[in-house]
């Protein structure tokens, strides 16, 4: 448990580290691959080609190899690292050798040679890059042995090397970017910026990968080596930075050297030439003004001398300023011309032609000298320009050197801080941990693990020493603990007090005996444990003898007494021993509370007394029989039981025999003799007859033993009156017999089971009911045996409700019999409890209710039928009522009309008023017809309820047309039928009647000349069609709609429109008879009658 957490953290960390390293490696690879790509196809990205190939081909290869070796590092492929490092070392090392010693092995062209076409730019690996790569290859080779899992000391140089690479590459990059050290480039060849970035990436990755390992390794070094490493690193840093400074100084000195070697000397040479020419010129001019001074051959000699100097100077200039070669040549030509001219002039002097000489010297020669001087001025100017240039360069270099010094100081400062803080931190943190550990050990906290024990050096030594300390402490603590346990678990109370009587040590038993808590006792005077009465005798002298006295004082008087916290006193036993300790003499007291012991002694006495009393009260008779002397000794209880008086009893075996019930005596005697013969304990049950004739049951037990040192036998026994128990038992037996016969012969299955459903008893009823015998059923789980699979959970539910003390009554379910039959059963469950009220079982009464259910169902069916016929009756009653009602009016009214009309005709005839007679006779006939029609319709109506006729196929379309033809009395009316009218089989007569009545209704009530009656249908649901007859007649106003289906209901007086008022009532009756519905929809003109009709009868 303790180790998983750190391990997973480490795993996470190393995963993260691997991930970062992989990313850097990929980036590195990308840079290298990109450069290689551009080398191979210069035209692809022509715009950036020159910048890109600033990185040499070999450098790019090395960069790619670096990325490979990083990946190899992660996956621990040591050989690959070494291979890569070797190639890098070869390429960069050879380059470096080429630069340093001028040996040419053409390493730069090894690979570019293989390119498809010769690259437009040739680049060489810069010496700085070569140096860095050499370092990188070293670090890789080191890392191949230093990488995990080895983790040896070589990690430190790996990190250092990479630090140096980073520093150099950073300086190179800074040289590009900020211009701090603009000329930084070894041998004048700069490292490409992306090379620098690549190297920084690589070294960062290496540092990142190895840093923690390196720190860990570093932390394990000896202090001395840590210091050495730190200073070594700083020294390397200083050397690196110092090298840069030296380079700068070299540069400055090179500039100065050049300054003095060339330009100044050239200038001087020019000046020398000028002086020579001027000297000759002055001599010539002087001679021209004053020819007297002319001496023979002086001038030609001068010229010869000057020429020598001039030639020397020119040669010097030519050597040092090769760029001046044209000027020098020109000068030499001009000079030799001038020389010839002057020599020719000198010839004129010789011939004393002074005028001519002066003429030539003052004019033509001056012209030539001017030419010469112009050329010399040019050379001189050039030299001066060069001087100025070098001066500027020197100044810049000086400034750079100043900057470099700043950087050196800054970096040195930072690196110094860094290194010293690292070393300090490395040391102090370890020492801090060791110190904390020491403190913990001092506090006896032993849980903390000891770090650094595996370190080889100083810290490790310390840690191992501490481990030994820890072990010692652990041992000491264990011993102390054991000692404390011994003291604590001693059954005696232990008190140690010093000479002043102050308690120093107590144990748990002491706490227990005196009722104090330990903290209350320690530091308290020992007197507190002594009763006041005892302590008054002694005084505290402050020496050991006081303690002794004080403790002994507990024993003042005959009994030693202690004082408990609650003030009660108790008897005790005490053992004393003085102990010589460093800080004085101690008194050790071992205390035993003897209250219990005393109590036991007292209890023994009283129990003896109690025994006699108990035997008496409980009617336990005790007897002793001495066989030899035939002497029988009874205690009081025996006489009580046997109802004999002590005085009248003859105290022998025979007397006892006479008390025993004659039926039992033989058996009892036999058992008695047998146990005497075998000397085994004797147990028997028998009846005795009391003097008043009543009978008692006796339970007798006895032990037969030999009297010591004799062969005489003594029998010691008890007699117990168990009459009441016997009678109770007999009663119980009787009840049990009754119960079991009830259970056994019950028709119901009576089963008992455990609270979890295992059958424990099974009566005959259950056997009859389910077919299983008791032997088959007992021990089975009831749910497996009787419940069908899909009802097993019911049993669990029932049992759990019984377990929660509920009584389940008449729960109805289904059981499976042995022969597979399913039975409907009603179950009544109740818990069986033991005397303590715990549920120890469940009793189940199962009644076969198959028949009951059948008759119940039958009853329900009958009831339903009854209800239905009642409804029928109700309906026909209602019909009858309606009939009676309408008959009283509608059937009588034509009759009365007839009677009235006939009497009017009589009257009118008598009064000879013939005018009305015809009309009345007409009305008379009309009434008779109406009567007939009413009676006919009534008959039809009452017949409508009866199902009759046969089922025919109805072709509704044709049928509707036929009916309409017959019913239509108005020529303007037309029938429209829906196209999809069905063809189906049904009772055709009632259906036809409905349709006929609807058509006739529509036709009869139509109030216009022309009109359309429409028959349509739809499927109402799966059982019914719905047919609709619509007309465009007057419609039926809403307030009459509820009446129109009534019997004899008309909307117009019959005198206006003849009709029985039975049509719609008839439709309603017919349709409802077949389970359908009639409805009316009418709003404004037109009305639609819809009726539903079963699809199948």
């Amino acid at each position: 448990m303790h180790h998983t957490q750190p391990t997973s953290e480490v795993t996470n960390l190393s995963k993260k580290k691997d991930f970062v390293t992989q990313c850097l490696a990929s980036l590195l690879f990308a840079i290298g691959a990109f450069v290689i790509f551009l080398w191979n196809s210069p035209t692809a990205l022509a715009a950036i080609y020159p910048q890109a190939v600033a990185m040499a081909y070999n450098t790019a290869i090395c960069i790619i190899l670096l990325s490979f070796s990083l990946l190899a590092l992660i996956y621990e492929k040591r050989q690959i690292i070494i291979l890569c490092a070797a190639v890098i070392f070869l390429l960069s090392g050879l380059t470096y050798i080429e630069y340093q010693w001028g040996v040419s092995v053409g390493v730069h062209y090894w690979f570019t040679h293989w390119l498809a076409y010769s690259p437009p730019l040739q680049r060489l690996m810069s010496p700085t890059a070569a140096f860095c790569l050499v370092l990188a290859s070293f670090s890789l080779i080191l890392s191949s042995t230093a990488a995990p899992p080895n983790e040896n000391n070589l990690m430190i140089p790996v990190v250092f090397l990479n630090f140096i690479i980073v520093t150099i590459a950073t300086i190179a990059l800074l040289g590009y970017g900020i211009g701090l050290i603009p000329v930084f480039g070894w041998l004048g060849i700069k490292m490409a910026p992306h090379t620098a970035i690549g190297l920084i990436l690589f070294s960062s990755a290496m540092v990142f990968y190895f840093y923690q390992y390196a720190i860990n390794t570093f932390n394990r070094l000896k202090f001395f080596y840590r210091m050495i490493t730190g200073f070594g690193f700083m020294a390397l840093l200083v050397i690196a930075i110092g090298s840069a400074a030296i380079l700068q100084i070299n540069t400055v000195s090179a500039i100065t050297q050049e300054l003095y070697r060339n330009s100044w000397q050239v200038n001087n040479a020019v000046l020398r030439i000028k002086t020579e020419i001027n000297t000759i010129n002055r001599a010539l001019k002087n001679t021209a003004i004053n020819p007297t001074i002319y001496s023979n051959n002086k001038i030609p000699n001068d010229i010869k001398f000057a020429k020598t100097i001039i030639i020397q100077s020119m040669a010097f200039i030519r050597n040092n300023e090769p760029s001046m070669i044209n000027n020098i040549n020109e000068f030499e030509i001009n000079f030799s011309e001038w020389e010839k001219f002057v020599l020719a002039s000198c010839k004129l002097l010789d011939s004393k032609d002074y005028t001519q000489f002066a003429q030539r010297t003052l004019y033509a020669s001056q012209e030539q000298i001017y030419q010469l001087e112009t050329i010399l001025e040019r050379i001189s100017f050039h030299a001066q320009m060069r001087i100025t240039e070098l001066n500027t360069l020197a100044t810049n270099t000086k400034n750079d050197a100043k900057n470099l010094i700043y950087i050196i100081v800054t970096i040195f400062f930072i690196a110094g801080l860094l290194v010293s803080s690292l070393i300090t931190r490395s040391l102090t943190s370890q020492l801090q941990k060791i110190r904390q550990l020491m403190l913990n050990l001092a506090d006896e906290k032993l849980d903390a693990p000891i770090p650094f024990t595996d370190h080889p050096q100083e810290i490790g030594d310390m840690a191992r020493t501490l481990a030994i300390f820890k072990e010692n402490i652990t041992t000491r603590l264990r011993l102390e603990k054991r000692l404390r346990q011994v003291i604590e678990s001693t059954p005696n109370g232990i008190i140690m007090a010093n000479s002043a009587g102050v308690i120093e040590i107590v144990n748990a038993q002491t706490e227990h005996i005196f009722g104090y808590d330990r903290s209350e006792l320690l530091g308290k005077p020992v007197e507190e444990l002594i009763p006041k009465s005892a302590i008054s005798n002694i005084t505290n002298n402050g020496d050991i003898f006081f303690t002794k006295k004080a403790i002994e004082a507990m024993g003042t008087g005959h009994e030693l007494l202690g004082l408990r916290r609650d003030g009660s006193e108790f008897p005790l036993e005490i053992g004393l021993a003085p102990i010589e300790a460093d800080d004085g003499t101690k008194m050790l007291a071992a205390i035993v509370d003897i209250t219990e012991r005393k109590n036991i002694a007292a209890a023994l006495n009283s129990s003896r007394e109690l025994l006699e009393l108990t035997t008496r009260i409980n009617q336990i008779g005790i007897w002793e029989y001495l066989l030899e002397s035939d002497h029988l000794i009874w205690n009081e209880a025996m006489f009580d039981i046997y109802g004999r008086s002590k005085e009248l009893f003859t105290h022998n075996h025979n007397a006892w025999r006479q008390c025993v019930h004659p039926d039992d005596i033989v058996n009892v005697e036999k058992t008695f003799q047998e146990s005497m013969k075998t000397l085994t304990p004797y147990v028997s049950k028998f009846r005795i007859v009391l003097p008043d004739g009543s009978i008692k049951y006796i339970h007798a037990k006895a032990k037969v033993e030999k009297i010591e040192n004799t062969s005489k036998l003594r029998i010691l026994g008890t007699n117990m009156d168990i009459t009441r128990e016997e009678l109770t038992f007999a009663k119980i037996h009787e009840l049990e017999t009754l119960r079991s016969s009830i259970v056994e012969y019950s028709e119901d299955g009576i089963i008992s089971k455990t609270p979890y459903g295992i059958i424990t008893s099974w009566n005959a009823g259950a056997t009859n009911m389910f077919g299983y015998t008791a032997d088959e059923a007992i021990g089975q789980s009831i749910s497996d045996l009787l419940f069908p699979e899909d009802r097993r959970e019911e049993e669990q539910m029932l049992l759990s409700s019984v377990r929660s003390e509920l009584v389940v009554q008449h729960f109805e379910t289904i059981h499976r019999c042995k022969d597979g039959r399913l039975l409907n059963v009603s179950i009544t469950l109740s818990p069986i409890k033991d005397a303590a009220g715990n549920i120890i079982g469940v009793s189940a009464i199962k009644r076969d209710i198959t028949d009951a259910i059948k008759s119940r169902e039958l009853l329900a069916k009958r009831q339903h039928e009854l209800e239905k016929s009642n409804e029928e009756l109700d309906r026909s009653n209602k019909e009858l009522e309606t009939f009676a009602y309408v008959a009283s009016h509608d059937l009588k009214s034509p009759l009365r009309g007839i009677s009235q009309l006939s009497s009017w005709i009589d009257e009118d005839l008598a009064e000879k008023k013939y005018a009305a007679v015809d009309k009345h006779t007409q009305m008379l006939r009309n009434r008779i017809q109406r009567m007939e029609k009413l009676l006919d319709d009534l008959l039809i109506f009452y017949r409508a309820g009866k199902v009759e006729g046969t089922q025919n196929i109805i072709y509704l379309n044709q049928m509707a047309k036929d009916i309409f033809e017959i019913q239509n009395t108005k020529s303007g009316l037309q029938l429209e039928t829906a196209a999809d009218l069905p063809t189906f089989t049904t009772l055709s007569t009632p259906f036809e009647q409905v349709l006929r009545n609807l058509f006739s209704n529509a036709v009869k009530h139509h109030d216009r000349e022309t009109g359309v009656i429409r028959l349509s249908y739809r499927e109402l649901n799966e059982y019914f069609y719905e047919f609709t007859v619509c007309d465009d007649g007057p419609g039926i106003s809403e307030k009459f709609q509820h009446r129109i289906f009534g019997m004899f209901q008309t909307l117009k007086p019959r005198d206006e429109l003849e009709g029985s008022g039975m049509g719609l009532a008839l439709i309603k009756k017919i349709v409802e008879n077949y389970g359908g519905r009639v409805s009316l929809a009418s709003a404004g003109r037109g009305c639609c009658f819809s009726f539903s009709w079963p699809k199948k009868m």
Binding site: S888, H889, R896, G897, L901, W904, L1051, K1052, P1053
Partner: protein, 151 residues
Amino acid sequence: MIAKVYPPVQHEHTQTVSLLIVEDDDIDATALQRALHKLKLLNPLYRAKDGLEALELLRAGEIPSPYIILLDLNMPRMNGLEFLEELRSDPILTHAIVFVLTTSKSDEDIISAYREHVAGYLLKQRMDNDFMQVVGLLDHYWRIIELPLTM
């Protein structure tokens, strides 16, 4: 609509009681008319063929006050009992005096009719053929009984 059926000439000067017979059967209406004629009574007789028509007549004020309504029960469109209910709930017509003249002997109808405060319930079949008794009864009735004139 020819509501007024009898007598052929209106005697303006006589302040007599009007009769409104609500009856779908032409014969019964004719019988009443004949009875009035026979007894030489000149009370104006109006006829409506059902309850609805009667209500329209009454609400239009076609029947001169005071009037007595003779009501048949079994009629198309609106039967007598429905008519009575409507009549009694009308604040103006509620005082109207109504005699029921019907063939229905049912107790239900009789009770329903009296619940609507009819002045009498006459059975057609108990009357003689020409309703002479009815007209005689009404003749006495309007002579003796004070009719509400506020109508």
